[in-house]
């Protein structure tokens, strides 16, 4: 049986900020120039935003360039940063580093505390309104190549295969999505990106990528302890000084706080457990004082890479 194929000008794999921003920009440019362009975006999560997890603090600079009317159009950037605090923690103490001593990248004036999942949902609505065809629930499973070795598109995964790989009663074959250009916006460890890096030697001459795992929980706290836009970062305890990582606690709207912890995956002690470092972090007096009421939705996500680890043609929202 042949797979069904559909053709587009551009196929985008991944409905995160990078994939959605590129889809929106393509449609905007076509509208400006009065040309037609077909853009298809697939997302493995059940809906746009379902697999998105981030701290998150957002500098609106790129959004100002992409969608300058974002405020009127209801983008969910509702918590402007009101204060930055940085602590070096010990087991029961905390030293606050004066803000005048903090490097620029720890100053968040002008940024917003956001849910990146909600920002992506909003970007998805903007993209659809511009005519991007968005297919959530479809995973890019395979890169398709032309005879000359160039990328032809992607195939979505089959549904309903059984454990041994045979076709079950609900079997549905994947589809071929063919594009004049294909964008891989899978995130920092895309499984198709990994294959492309190997096939086209995209990591030649650049440093090995470093990664981090972040864990985060959303808590609703008592209004007396809540300060909209308060941003706290920490280094030190509970991790050993030779291990890269740190904590964060951001105050969102509706008395919510996002509390989380990041561990650099370059750690050396195989006994380390990032999940349990995070759980221990929450017991610090400077953190636990905020955590008074019921929680919801903890989770984990991989962090975005730093500059010199970007592979060739890496995608970002910009």
């Amino acid at each position: 049986m042949e797979r069904e194929a559909m053709e587009f000008d551009v196929v985008i794999v991944g409905g995160g900020p990078a994939g959605l921003a590129s889809a929106i920009r393509l449609k905007q440019l076509a509208a400006q120039k009065g040309s037609e362009i077909s853009v298809c975006l697939i997302e493995k999560g059940a809906e746009i935003g379902a697999h998105i997890l981030s701290g998150a603090l957002m500098d609106p600079r790129a959004l100002n360039e992409l969608l300058p009317n974002w405020q009127q159009d209801g983008a969910p950037l509702n918590a402007p940063v009101s204060e930055d605090r940085f602590f070096i923690l010990s087991e029961d103490g905390a030293i606050k580093i004066p803000n005048s001593l903090l490097p620029k990248c720890f100053h968040n004036e002008g940024n917003y505390v956001i849910s990146l999942g909600n920002v992506c949902r909003w970007l998805g609505e903007q993209a659809e309104a511009l005519g991007v065809e968005i297919y959530p629930g479809f995973a890019g499973a395979e890169v398709l190549f032309n005879e000359d070795g160039s990328v032809k598109g992607v195939a979505t995964g089959d549904m309903g295969r059984l454990h041994d790989g045979s076709e079950g009663p609900n079997f549905q074959m994947g589809m071929e999505l063919l594009g004049k250009y294909t964008f891989f916006a899978e995130g920092c460890r895309g499984h198709l990106g990994k294959q492309l890096e190997a096939k086209f030697n995209l990591r030649e001459g650049v440093d090995p990528q470093t990664y981090g795992i972040g864990l985060k929980e959303l808590w609703e706290i008592t209004p007396e302890m809540h300060q909209l836009g308060l941003v706290i970062h920490s280094g030190g305890w509970p991790m050993q000084p030779d291990t890269y990582g740190g904590g964060f606690l951001y105050h969102l709207e509706n008395n919510q706080i996002a509390v989380g912890f990041v561990v650099g995956l370059g750690y050396s002690n195989p006994h380390l457990s990032p999940f349990e470092e995070f759980q221990r972090f929450k017991t610090h007096p400077e953190i636990r004082k905020f955590l008074e009421v019921a929680r919801s939705n903890p989770a984990c996500w991989p962090l975005k890479p730093a500059l010199m680890h970007l592979p060739k043609n890496a995608s970002t929202m910009n």
């Binding site: 921003a21 590129s22 889809a23 920009r25 440019l29 493995k44 809906e47 697999h51 981030s54 790129a62 992409l66 070096i88 490097p103 849910s115 990146l116 999942g117 909600n118 629930g137 995973a139 499973a141 990328v151 995964g157 549904m159 309903g160 295969r161 454990h163 250009y181 460890r189 499984h191 440093d207 470093t210 990664y211 985060k216 959303l218 000084p241 890269y244 650099g264 995956l265 370059g266 750690y267 050396s268 195989p270 006994h271 457990s273 990032p274 999940f275 349990e276 759980q279 221990r280 017991t283 939705n297 903890p298 989770a299 984990c300 991989p302 730093a306 500059l307 010199m308 043609n313 929202m317």
Partner: protein, 203 residues
């Protein structure tokens, strides 16, 4: 956005399936590149330890404004940085109290992750023997700990013999830490069926 602009120009010239060289050029000329360039030494300095890292990144930023004449390089991938279990100190973590801190499975439950169990496992082992012969023997099976979702479990017989790895793929939250950190690079993360994985409402 920059990729989209490069792509749009290429399509206007009726190009297809070629390398968008205008994209990396535009990226290098962008404010994003400049911003990332200024803080490029943060992680490499911090990898040298909290105190030295803070001091040196402070000098890098405060004295040189991010334009220091050095760029620190990372030479080893993350998976190659694990030491042997025998050469490192075990870490004793407190038990979850269910109020402030929790166990893996209750956290996985809150992520609403879901996978059809009867499908090919999306966490593929290149060599089925390595989890025991290498990872358990040398590193005390670190996948039990670096996976935040309890996907990897070492099971044993009642007398403690016959260790084997069980992969609870339905718990996976798609963080890909196993693909990155497995010291043997024996785990290959591939996509499960579309629409599966976590369902975060507002993360």
């Amino acid at each position: 956005m920059l990729a989209a602009e490069a792509c749009f120009d290429a399509l206007a010239k009726e190009c297809q399936h070629d390398e968008l060289t205008a994209y990396p050029e535009a990226f290098k000329a962008s404010w994003l590149h400049e911003e990332l360039h200024l803080s490029r030494n943060f992680k490499p300095w911090m990898a040298k330890g909290l105190k030295l890292g803070s001091l040196m990144f402070g000098i890098d930023q405060m004295v040189f404004g991010g334009k220091a004449p050095w760029t620190l390089h990372n030479t080893k991938p993350d998976h190659a940085k694990l030491k042997l279990a025998a050469d490192t100190q075990p870490i004793i973590y407190p038990k979850p109290d269910g109020v402030l801190n929790f166990d893996r499975l209750s956290s996985v439950f809150l992520s609403s992750t879901n996978h059809e169990e009867d499908q090919p496992c999306h966490l593929q082992l290149k060599d089925a023997a390595i989890p025991i012969s290498v990872n358990l023997a040398q590193y005390d099976a670190p996948e039990q700990r670096f996976c935040p979702a309890g996907v990897y479990e070492i099971l044993r017989d009642e007398n403690g013999s016959n260790p084997r790895l069980q992969i609870n793929a339905q718990n996976c939250v798609h963080c890909k830490t196993c693909d990155i950190k497995d010291p043997s690079q024996n785990i290959n993360w591939v996509v499960p069926q579309g629409g599966e994985g976590p369902t975060y409402p507002n993360m």
